[in-house]
Subunit: 184 residues, 2 copies
């Protein structure tokens, strides 16, 4: 059976990219991978501390002028080993919870106008996020794909774009159908 506590491996994976602080990790989760992963400070900081006692990471303290100290975590060989072991395991899709689709699905209890409004708000947030994707792709095209890590990062981004485009397409279809229903 596959291991739980996937958070650990996400943090190890990010530390494998480059040494980071908990704050850095939070930023990456919020901006880059937020369409497929979420993580709170209350989970990040204790997990990083646990890496130290488990020997999966080491820390260095970076003093900064006018800013608080940064505690930067570096992955160790045994941290990388544990990450690779997890990557080789099979996985299960758990904890899938899309609040939008639930609200949409039970929307017959509200007036059609509310359903339409819900979809329009959803479409708006998808479009906003697409803007970020476009910028990221432009930046990657400038830098080029130097190695497999870059390629995988780019492809993960590409899935985000594909999925968002299909959801935007769905919004159009759904709005058409709901407006049609409104007329009758």
């Amino acid at each position: 059976m596959p291991k739980k506590n996937v958070s650990r491996y996400v943090l190890l994976g990010l530390l494998d990219w480059r040494p980071m602080s908990g704050y850095d990790i939070k930023k990456i989760v919020e901006f880059s991978i937020r369409d497929f992963w979420s993580e709170s400070y209350g989970n990040i900081y204790p997990t990083l501390q646990k890496f130290l006692t488990d020997g999966l990471a080491e820390k260095t303290v970076e003093r900064q002028e006018g800013k608080p100290d940064r505690i930067v975590y570096h992955i160790t060989p045994s941290g990388r080993k544990e990450l690779v072991e997890w990557l080789n395991e099979s996985y299960e899709q758990r904890r899938i919870r899309d609040e939008f689709l639930v609200k949409f699905l039970f929307g017959h209890l509200l007036p059609v106008e509310s359903n339409i409004h819900l979809v329009e708000t959803y479409r708006h947030s998808l479009e906003e996020r697409m803007e970020w994707y476009r910028k990221s792709v432009a930046q990657i095209k400038k830098q080029g794909l130097k190695n497999r890590k870059d390629l995988l990062e780019y492809l993960a981004l590409l899935q985000g774009i594909f999925v968002r485009e299909s959801k935007l397409h769905w919004c159009e279809e759904a709005l058409k159908a709901l407006q049609e229903h409104q007329k009758d």
Copy 2:
């Protein structure tokens, strides 16, 4: 701030469709809405019991021959009222966690062949699920969309199809790119 414990409202929404047992609910979650919601017995049964004490649902016991009794829950007006209140609230996308994309993203630590295998397995599970979607759509086309509830259910299904199609398309692109990388 939006309410947590969305499970409650999913169960209320399902009971609004028709009276159901905990077992029925689990089946619907496993087969119909599993692409955007998951729920365990350990959460379903206590939640249903709480509905009774909160007056959001009432139960009837159905005796069956050769099978255990079924405890069927019926939503009450105040249950429907609480559901509508929740539907009118704004929502936040929380707890987004796609284990596949994490394994894919950090795959540079494994040989390219492993990355390709991961995507192929993923593609296979997507295709399997598409089969279920095709059957469901065929059934709906036979029955027709009688009301808005049916329409919303159909549209929710449609998003599942759109998203899965875009992910399948992505698989092709990803496999192409990885095979290209393999050659170099």
